[in-house]
């Protein structure tokens, strides 16, 4: 096995063995529960489609294939621009004089890593399809996997056969992959729209693109430099608001922590930009909904606001927007749980208040009855409070590991939504118990 690949795989094994037995057991059990739950739901759904809507097997498999391809295509630019520059392993290794094969392996590992996660998430869909449609689908999926492996292998062989200057090797690969996948996305959707999708056309498009880009990308020095991925530097320009200008009315016990949170938000331009852009896009969508789908406005505003809040606060676990909490701060300084949680909660509640105000204005303009407006605001407020509280607790529990905290956040939100819709009374009660449990654990972080 290639040494680079071997050490990356070993890292995974080491990480798994480093986890406590209880945590490993929890991960496996949770995986089985979710896998079974979603597969079960999807089998039911697919059976319904096959039984009642006269959908053919090929039609169904085409839908799934499109879904998979869409995931891969959409995730590619995101991986290229956002995730690549953050890969510490990639940055470290790019400083060494790697062999071509090693550089390529390294690149492939980091490139495929996130797509594998996405495809793994989609495995319940494949399992459900197999269960619904029988062995034919299994053969179809096997064919897809083998084709993908063959094409990937072909690509790797062609790339590895070319001589590449070592100093630029990583960026050349970056550019190649990026251009290749964007072009492939265009070809894929074009063939879908104009030739009604055939495997043959896609396959030919793939080969042509491979040859086209492979012939050109190496001579594009200036392009390489221009599109070299970089981690965005955090802002150097400071807002005029300083620690000393906050009103003295803020209670002394939470004042320093609250001000720290507010300043960290305001001075991080990425985070402020995210807030403004999210709200702006939301506003545009709502205006469009009001114009073109007037009758669905009430449902749309509730759902989209909830989605906005869910999506926006998921960035709390991205260090580009919110820095991880320092161990020193939680464990060493004389800070109490209530001080910390209140300051986190209220500093973020300002944005929620702004969203609620926007919702109020939009619903008033739309002309919804006051009772309904209060209803919508009530639902959004309850969801927001839930999200904010969950975020506060999770950020304390996983204070030194934002990534795990992010997974936990999404898990909890999905869990709550699925449970609440599937088991109307039991769901919220279970969620409540989970919150109490999390409250207990996060409180313990300060007490230990």
């Amino acid at each position: 096995m290639n040494a680079i690949l071997k050490y990356h795989v070993r890292q995974l094994f080491n990480y798994w063995h480093h986890l406590k037995f209880r945590i490993r057991a929890e991960i496996i059990i949770l995986f089985i529960i979710f896998y079974s739950f979603f597969t079960d739901k999807l089998v039911f759904y697919f059976n319904q489609i096959l039984d009642y809507q006269d959908t053919s097997l090929t039609g169904l498999s085409t839908i799934v294939l499109h879904l998979l391809m869409l995931i891969v295509i959409l995730s590619t630019p995101f991986i290229y621009f956002n995730l690549f520059p953050r890969q510490k392993g990639l940055t470290n290794l790019s400083l060494y004089p790697l062999k071509k094969s090693e550089a390529l392996t390294t690149l492939m590992i980091y490139f495929v890593k996130y797509q594998i996660i996405i495809i793994l998430i989609a495995t319940p869909v494949f399992t459900a399809l197999m269960l619904s449609t029988g062995p034919l689908m299994l053969l179809y999926i096997l064919f897809l996997l083998c084709s993908s492996l063959f094409l990937s292998g072909l690509m790797v062989l062609i790339l590895a056969s070319k001589y590449l200057s070592r100093s630029r090797i990583f960026y050349q690969y970056f550019l190649f992959f990026f251009l290749y996948f964007v072009s492939f996305a265009i070809v894929y959707w074009t063939t879908y729209l104009f030739f009604y999708y055939t495997i043959l056309v896609i396959f030919c498009g793939w080969i042509v693109l491979l040859r086209y880009w492979n012939a050109r990308w190496q001579s594009w020095d200036h392009v390489l430099n221009r599109y070299r991925p970089v981690v965005q530097k955090s802002t150097q320009n400071m807002s005029k608001l300083t620690y000393f200008q906050f009103p003295s009315a803020i209670p002394k016990t939470v004042r320093p922590l609250f001000i720290k949170e507010i300043l960290s938000h305001i001075r991080n331009k990425n985070y402020m930009r995210l807030k403004i852009i999210s709200l702006f896009i939301y506003l545009i969508i709502m205006i469009l909904v009001d114009i073109f789908y007037h009758e669905y406005f009430t449902t749309a505003i509730s759902l989209l606001t909830i989605l906005l809040i869910w999506e926006h606060y998921s960035h709390q676990f991205n260090e580009k927007y919110v820095m991880k909490e320092t161990r020193f701060f939680i464990k060493v300084l004389p800070i109490k749980f209530y001080q910390y949680s209140l300051s986190k909660f209220f500093s973020e509640f300002l944005y929620i208040a702004l969203i609620l105000f926007v919702v109020l204005i939009l619903t008033l303009i739309h002309g919804i009855a006051l009772f309904k407006i209060l209803n919508i605001l009530g639902i959004i407020t309850i969801f927001s409070l839930f999200v904010l509280y969950i975020i506060t607790l999770i950020r304390i529990i996983f204070y030194d590991n934002p990534r795990v905290a992010g997974y936990a956040y999404h898990f909890l939100i999905i869990f709550t939504v699925v449970m609440s819709f599937s088991f109307y009374l039991v769901g919220p009660i279970v969620t409540l118990f989970i919150i109490i449990y999390l409250h207990f654990i996060s409180n313990r972080q300060f007490a230990r």
Binding site: S234, Q236, M238, T242, Y243, F244, K252, R255, P256, L257, I259, K260, L263, S264, R267, N268, M323, T326, R327, F328, F329, K331, V332, L333, P334, I335, K336, A447, R448
Partner: protein, 242 residues
């Protein structure tokens, strides 16, 4: 005063600190030395509360770490080697925030620390612009805010320039004269020898030796070796310890 009784810290495959008992008295600067993996950082982390799972007792004055955790947090200042500071606060704001958390009025102290550590030009800049040395200075200054009775420094002075080192030494000596307990961990034996009144040597998690300056002078006279040579031979042949 810090009292440690039978402290044992176990990691899954290694005993990092093995049954260490020690008492750190007021008015003395203690140096903590030892080779890599000797257990210094684990020992200090247990003292400051970054490691919660251990056997034994730790007391700050009459307060037990296991029972009076929150009171103890007000009794010491701590500066680590790699300080995690908030990048979107200025150095000045950070120190004022720490003062507010500790509920002390530290305006004059912050001004003095600003000049002692040569922070005048960067004090109003965001911490994300600071070099490692600057961050260490801010972290050290934060540990001094409110002049806590006990000060624990874990390789905290490594990045200091000579002027800041000189001023830091004066600050620590003044604090020690005023009855504060100071524990200074470092790899730099010369620094420990010049700054500290007592030196504690840890090796493989065990307390290997505890020397006063007089004892070190005595060893030098007896063996003709300087402290570094004695340290190396002691770590390699522990039976030579006192």
């Amino acid at each position: 005063m810090i009292k440690v009784s039978n402290l044992t810290i176990r990691y899954p495959e290694v005993v990092a600190v093995d049954n260490v008992s020690i008492q750190l008295k007021e008015g003395i600067i203690y140096g903590l030395v030892g080779p890599n993996g000797a257990g210094k950082s684990s020992f200090i982390k247990a003292l400051v509360g970054l490691i919660a799972e251990y056997d034994g007792d730790i007391y700050f004055d009459e307060f037990s770490r296991s029972k009076d955790r929150h009171i103890i947090k007000s009794l010491f200042g701590y500066a680590p080697e790699d300080p995690d500071l908030y990048p979107y606060l200025t150095g000045k704001e950070y120190l004022h925030m720490i003062a507010d958390i500790r509920q002390v009025d530290a305006n004059s102290q912050i001004k003095a620390l600003q000049s002692d550590f040569g922070l005048d030009n960067v004090f109003d800049d965001l911490i994300n612009r600071y070099s490692h040395g600057m961050r260490q200075k801010i972290s050290f200054a934060a540990a001094l805010i409110g002049e806590p009775k006990n000060l624990i420094l874990d390789e905290a002075l490594n990045g200091f320039d000579p002027i800041s080192q000189y001023n830091s030494k004066n600050i620590l000596l003044t604090l020690a004269r005023n009855g504060h307990t100071i524990l200074l961990s470092s790899h730099v034996l010369e620094l420990v020898e010049n700054w500290c009144q007592e030196i504690i040597i840890l090796n493989e998690g065990k307390l290997l030796a505890e020397y006063t300056l007089e004892q070190i002078e005595d060893i030098k006279a007896r063996t003709g070796k300087d402290f570094s040579e004695h340290f190396v031979s002691l770590v390699q042949r522990p039976s030579e310890g006192l």
